[in-house]
């Protein structure tokens, strides 16, 4: 926090670069703080996401990326700060509230239930049913079919949708979580290190999914440690360090070297 920072010093408005009009931001988070006991994971971090763009969020381990993600997806409630969605202030009481507002997230821990099957995990919290009243039954056939179809695009080694997640490999689990988040036609998809456990082929497929999302108008927030990936996919990059968002760049106007310098603090924002 030694470097004064042009973005986080602005108290009420979310930062933006250059001439971007406020209405082009689908999401603006301003001055978010979050502490766990004595650990100040976020110290007033601000960041934005633009419509139809892939925004990358990078930073060292412990910088606060996942905590930011968990604030945006309703798992944590920020201690202070403001989140604007489409220009309107929102507070997420719980993850369901964020989902209702069209924010889907692949959490870093994937948020799967190991004892449930692939299709059950896929539709967890938004199961398809048929029938009426208390005897509304799960539409198992439809859910299995849909889950299988959506997974096919993603996994290289597609697991049977009826197998328990406990029996899946790390890559297969990640594919389930990503296909789940991408499958609902939401307006924002957040992915916290989605390719961390994946091989080359699987990573390529996930990147394909991310690009398809952007083409269909979804704003994607991508947390990644892979600079090549960030440079290849993203339109905009936010850099976090020690609980603050310390810099932002258009991806086209930066380089991997500059990003590394920003992350370590070797270069001031």
């Amino acid at each position: 926090m030694t470097t004064p920072d042009q973005y986080n010093e602005r108290p009420s408005v979310a930062p933006h670069t250059g001439t971007t009009a406020t209405r082009d931001f689908i999401l603006q988070a301003t001055g978010i703080t979050k502490s766990f006991g004595g650990v100040h994971a976020l110290k007033g971090a601000s960041m934005t996401m633009r419509r139809g763009e892939i925004t990358a969020l990078i930073g060292d381990n412990g910088a606060g990326k996942s905590t930011m993600v968990r604030c945006l997806s309703g798992i944590h409630r920020p201690d202070s700060g403001e989140i604007l969605l489409d220009g309107k202030p929102v507070t997420f009481e719980n993850p369901n509230a964020a989902i209702q507002q069209g924010i889907e997230t692949v959490q870093q821990n994937l948020a799967l239930v190991e004892d449930l099957t692939v299709w059950q995990n896929f539709f967890l919290g938004r199961e398809k049913t048929h029938g009426f009243g208390p005897f509304r039954t799960l539409d198992r056939k439809l859910m299995k079919q849909t889950a299988a179809d959506l997974l096919k695009n993603l996994a290289v080694n597609v697991p049977p949708v009826t197998s328990k997640v406990r029996r899946l490999s790390g890559g297969q689990r990640q594919a389930v979580a990503i296909a789940r988040a991408a499958g609902w036609g939401s307006q924002i998809v957040i992915m916290d290190e989605p390719t961390a456990a994946l091989g080359v082929q699987e990573t390529a497929r996930v990147e394909g999914v991310i690009e398809t999302l952007r083409e269909s108008g979804v704003a994607v927030l991508l947390i990644s440690h892979n600079f090549d990936q960030v440079m290849r996919l993203s339109d905009h990059v936010w850099v976090m360090r020690a609980g603050m968002a310390v810099a932002e760049r258009r991806s086209a106007e930066t380089s991997g070297d500059e990003l590394v310098a920003l992350i370590t603090g070797a270069k001031a924002a």
């Binding site: 997806s73 798992i75 719980n94 993850p95 369901n96 989902i99 997230t105 959490q107 821990n109 994937l110 948020a111 799967l112 239930v113 190991e114 004892d115 449930l116 059950q120 967890l124 919290g125 938004r126 199961e127 049913t129 208390p134 005897f135 509304r136 039954t137 799960l138 406990r166």
Partner: protein, 326 residues
């Protein structure tokens, strides 16, 4: 069975291979144990497999089956309901007082179930909203429900003369008495809700990984409230059968029902850590425990040995569950 295996030898081989794995025995401890008990007891006692005794056993099993189903919902979420049998006693006294006040069978039955739901609600509020450990919360309500039952009944049993209750205990379709038919209907409904509805799936999800369930928009608070309400409500239903069987509403402490309800669930292959739902298993577990008690009684084994036998069976089953497939 044999014909199918005859026509499909690969299936037979597959079954053979399964039987050699210890996990097969662990997954199916309850049905295997039940069959073994039936074989042993029918060899030792000519009365055991008579229609009259089977009928009596099924009637005797009904209360435990219903309690085990309630307990199974709670245990699937990783919780436990130690107050279940005290809640049943409380419901029985509620029934007795209402009946004594001249409210008639049906209203009194509703009172019993509402009394059960009330304790379930308290458990749910303490555990889901108050974040009190399930073990402590239900230990507390165990004592509260027992105490309340003693206070409102003045510690005296309330004798009930109700034709409806008489029909409930003595009526039957073939060898199936009304109590076990009621228990069977509850079991079918429980299976349906657990495995075919969103609610049941959410119960399993919260038990399996609460954090992940919540991240997917499920309210763990509501699910926990619901399972303790189910457990309390079913304890209220069991209270009716208890009053019908005894012919009176007694403020007695039915510890054996508490231990056996948990034992039936463990025998049924449900892990106490939660996440793995079973309904048929606990039902068979309840039948097994009833058959065990019945068989020992028929053989003239002293009552003193029955808790010992139940304890051994449960510990054995708990050891076996370690070998269940993950």
């Amino acid at each position: 069975m044999t014909t199918i295996e005859h026509v499909r030898p690969p299936r037979l081989q597959a079954v053979g291979a399964q039987v050699r794995q210890i996990s097969f025995w662990a997954e199916n401890a309850a049905p295997i144990g039940l069959v073994a008990l039936v074989i042993v007891f029918s060899a030792l006692s000519p009365t055991f497999l008579t229609l009259g005794n089977i009928k009596a056993m099924l009637v005797a099993a009904a209360i435990l089956v219903i309690l085990a189903i309630g307990q199974s919902f709670v245990i699937t979420t990783g919780g436990i309901d130690l107050s279940i049998s005290a809640t049943m006693t409380f419901g029985a006294i509620g029934f007795g007082l209402a009946f004594q006040a001249g409210l008639g069978f049906w209203v009194s039955a509703v009172v019993a179930i509402v009394a059960g739901l009330l304790i379930g609600l308290i458990n749910g509020l303490l555990i889901a909203k108050g974040k009190v450990t399930d073990f402590i919360a239900t230990l507390g309500t165990l004592s509260v429900a027992t105490g309340l039952a003693l206070i409102v009944s003045n510690g005296k049993p309330i004798t009930i003369n109700s034709t409806e209750l008489l029909t409930l205990t003595s009526g039957s379709l073939g060898i199936f008495g009304y109590p076990i038919i009621l228990a069977a209907v509850i079991a079918v409904l429980a299976w349906f809700f657990m495995f075919r509805t969103r609610f049941g799936l959410h119960v399993q999800a919260v038990g399996g990984n609460e954090e992940s369930a919540v991240a997917n928009g499920i309210s763990a608070t509501r699910i926990r409230m619901a399972v303790y309400l189910i457990s309390g409500g079913l304890a209220g239903v069991a209270a009716l059968l208890l009053v019908a069987r005894v012919g009176a509403a007694e403020p007695a402490i039915n510890t054996q029902f508490l231990l056996n309800s948990i034992a039936a669930v463990v025998l049924g292959g449900v892990s106490l850590t939660g996440g793995k739902a079973k309904i048929v298993g606990p039902v068979i577990g309840a039948l097994l425990l009833t058959a065990l008690t019945n068989g020992l009684t028929l053989l003239g084994v002293s009552q003193f040995y029955q808790p010992l036998a139940v304890g051994l069976v449960v510990v054995l089953a708990a050891l076996l569950t370690r070998f269940q497939k993950k």
